[in-house]
Symmetry: C2
């Protein structure tokens, strides 16, 4: 991580709620940790009866900076297509919350945070984090904000896993759920790609068994390779071919060398090198591990539908045709389980060649779908339309 | 590489032909190299009129040990399903040749070989090798063996690229061609995966800018990560799920750690660690680069059919339904070009969930297809059936 990112770990630009020894986080690994920090951003205003809160859950290497300028990269937030005034997650209408996951590195407790018991960076001494642990921590934040029931929980990819876990863990606290480009369990191929990434990090001698922070080392090369491998899975073969194909980078002919002759090589190298400025290597191990361990049905005797029994949450499940990381078959398995549990569910497969990352992009059909779902849900919940928008 | 593999570089267990200063290899990089070694294996007997030779071209990290015990790993050759007595490439009927590619590390000149001009290991001083260079070297070997026209050139993956290049470069010298699970050019996604592998190797400080051999270093960690990433692309999502799914490795419950809890993790780690015993890190850079540079149409004004104009070679193009590295669409592009060039071509897409690696496996439909194609071609070529097999 760069200096600015390191500063965000302990002194984030976001709001932070610090839970003390009397409010430990009970974790799936069988231990509790306390104290605990949760860094978060909010957008819009909570209404009087606290019924208009939407919790946005971020993906693997995302963070709480959904719709503001990112304090490290200086770039726009990661979901400005979806969150903002007049957007489907309309900040004129809803109170939007997004917290950095436990295990992350933007201010919530993670392996880069200081372990208060030792005064040293947690590193691998932090218990392994699960998706359920992330959601437990989010529930502590939602309690802290005095919100009994969330109007909606929404998120893509690992964020979508948190959405599913929210309904399973707190069936009475989620009115509507929007899991996007996600799965109810990691497949062998999903685990395989994550394992390659972790091995790339751990193969870097600077990683030093996870103790690089104390040693002043920086496993940036391994982390960059991990990011490059992962990045391929976020895009479709078709999108890569359309965008890059075999185009050369600033040259007329191949150099017959190992330079980045091809634009795709240059692009991947940039993805790797820019990532390491903002993300912690151990954090990458933790968030990938959380996804790999995710298998919601396993907690319910192998029957996914049982995870949703008793909930009344209305769902909109979204997948993208060219997403090969969490393909439509994964979404369909979720929908079948929701049907079996008699929950109201819309299922939309969006036609796009942009792959998994489509959920982060301005895909008109996706935007229209989520807008429609949220408007209908808001009306059902009795939420007032913002000024200038006719109630439907 | 391990000690035994290193010995194979200069003193291979195979036959070797050494071309001296008067027979340089002219390379696409614009230079020539001499002297040059080509290590090869043969199986079966060349007939009197030298019309029964089949050249087998190996894939990325394959070698000449097609159907004998491998001198380093002690395992069976890589294509015993296809090559041997009574197999489709029947060693009772055909004279089978397979040479280690230029750029490889099993006895043909490659980056691990000694550069005779310096007495030092070539390393990155070896010019970058292309598929066409590999084929030129093979043609020198075929000349050396006194064979004017090959009965067939066959190979899968990078071997299939060599098959296509053979017909383009030497249209009069190939009676039949069998390109399997291959493409006429590397796509952006293909290049991306190879670039990740190269970056993993180069990120290993032991790689030392490619000079590890002189320094007594071993970039095994980076090479293992490269192999792990590549290996995922050789298998289908379905095959991984069927074979491994989320099964745990020798344990009843997850350990909540970064150990190889899942069988797929253990399997990948094994693939990585066993690979580095037999393969040279720089060689991996060279062979991946050769594939990335491959774009047969580009040498013919962007029109693939022109690569085959004037040839009379009969083709059988084979793809596998679950191969996402070189999917059926790649095979179809080859077939369309062959059609446009008026060459006789059969095209068979084999239904299998085994992914790209299916060409190495005992897939009954694949075996039957290649058997039928080669028998018909042999009859057309007037080759005698082996004793006990009725001519058709």
């Amino acid at each position: 991580m760069g200096v600015e990112a390191f500063r965000e770990v302990e002194n984030p630009s976001s709001e932070v709620v610090r839970f003390h020894a009397d409010q430990p986080l009970s974790m799936d690994a069988g231990v509790s940790i306390a104290p605990l920090s949760i860094a978060y951003q909010t957008y819009g205003r909570l209404n009087a009866d606290k019924s208009n809160a939407i919790l946005v859950c971020h993906a693997l290497t995302g963070d709480q900076h959904v719709a503001n300028i990112h304090p490290v990269t200086g770039k726009q937030g990661w979901w400005t297509t979806m969150v903002g005034p007049g957007r489907p997650i309309d900040t004129n209408r809803y109170f939007v919350i997004c917290s950095n996951v436990i295990g992350g590195c933007m201010g919530s407790t993670g392996p880069a945070s200081l372990n208060p018991a030792t005064g040293q960076v947690w590193g691998l001494d932090l218990p392994v984090v699960t998706i359920r642990d992330m959601v437990r921590a989010q529930a502590m934040l939602v309690d802290h904000l005095g919100i009994e029931k969330l109007f909606c929980v929404a998120g893509g990819s690992m964020g979508g896993m948190q959405v599913l876990q929210w309904v399973a863990s707190y069936p009475d606290r989620v009115f509507a759920a929007l899991p996007i480009a996600t799965a109810s369990r990691h497949t062998a191929q999903n685990i395989a790609f994550h394992e390659v990434g972790r091995q790339a990090v751990m193969a870097d001698p600077e990683w030093s068994g996870g103790r690089y922070a104390a040693l002043g080392k920086h496993p940036t090369k391994g982390l960059a390779v991990a990011r490059m491998a992962a990045h391929i899975t976020y895009l479709s073969e078709g999108a890569l071919q359309r965008k890059f194909g075999r185009k050369l980078q600033d040259r007329e002919a191949p150099t017959f060398s190992f330079d980045a002759d091809f634009q795709i090589e240059n692009y991947l190298r940039y993805q790797g090198s820019s990532f390491v400025d903002r993300f912690d290597a151990n954090s990458y191990l933790y968030v990938t591990r959380a996804c790999d361990y995710f298998d919601l049905a396993a907690d319910y005797g192998g029957v996914l539908a049982r995870a949703f029994l008793g909930a009344k949450t209305r769902f909109c499940v979204v997948s993208f045709t060219s997403d090969w990381l969490y393909p439509t078959s994964d979404a369909r398995a979720i929908v079948h389980a929701l049907n079996a549990a008699s929950l109201p569910v819309s299922f939309v497969e969006i036609e796009t060649d942009k792959g998994h990352d489509a959920f982060l992009l301005d895909e008109p059909d996706f935007i229209a779908t989520t807008r429609g779902f949220l408007e209908a849900a808001a009306n059902a919940r009795g939420l007032t339309a913002p000024a200038g928008v006719a109630a439907q």
